[in-house]
Symmetry: C2
Subunit: 107 residues, 2 copies
């Protein structure tokens, strides 16, 4: 994960709707959810969901697969892990890692 990919991923998550979509998909797990279900649960227009979820897709944070006439989206855990790794390096890689508790110190 390089700097520009990180900016892309951060930008993808930096929006109420998109963060809510991503959290929902993470909570759901590898099975994923169809576009219709996500849009309905969040109370947004289908076209609006497409706009946001493709933002997430372009950033590599979600995967897309077709099941009959539904499109199923799922969180890409590897990409999220990569982002966490990048941020961890930027938070704890240089200075005093002691200031960055659970996720970073590894203790």
């Amino acid at each position: 994960m390089d700097s520009s990919a990180a900016v892309s991923a951060l930008g993808a998550l930096a929006h109420d709707t998109r963060l809510a979509v991503f959290r929902m998909l993470v909570e759901r797990g590898p099975d994923g959810l169809s576009a219709g279900v996500i849009a309905e649960r969040l109370g947004i227009l289908p076209s609006s969901l497409t706009f946001h979820i493709q933002h997430l897709h372009r950033a590599g944070l979600v995967t897309q697969r077709r099941v009959s006439r539904q499109l199923i989206y799922a969180a890409d855990y590897a990409a999220m892990s990569g982002l966490l790794g990048f941020l961890t390096e930027n938070c704890c890689g240089r200075a005093d890692a002691a200031a960055c508790p659970p996720a970073c110190t590894g203790t």
Copy 2:
């Protein structure tokens, strides 16, 4: 760290210039750097730096203190840790944590 604070922090980091500023401050450590030095190193206008660094400041990611006539900015490690924690929960808190290696599994 609640959802809206996370969106704010993510949005603050989701920009080339701001991410570069934050990385520089993290690398520098608690001593921090003056606004002039940061602007010069990044080759941006002072007014432009103010715009971006206040974005980071509003999001709570950097601290500000005055030393004579210079303003010193430093990374706020606690805030960054909070963001990492929030993202970790959203990545590994629910589904199969095994997919999220170093930062999350804690092993």
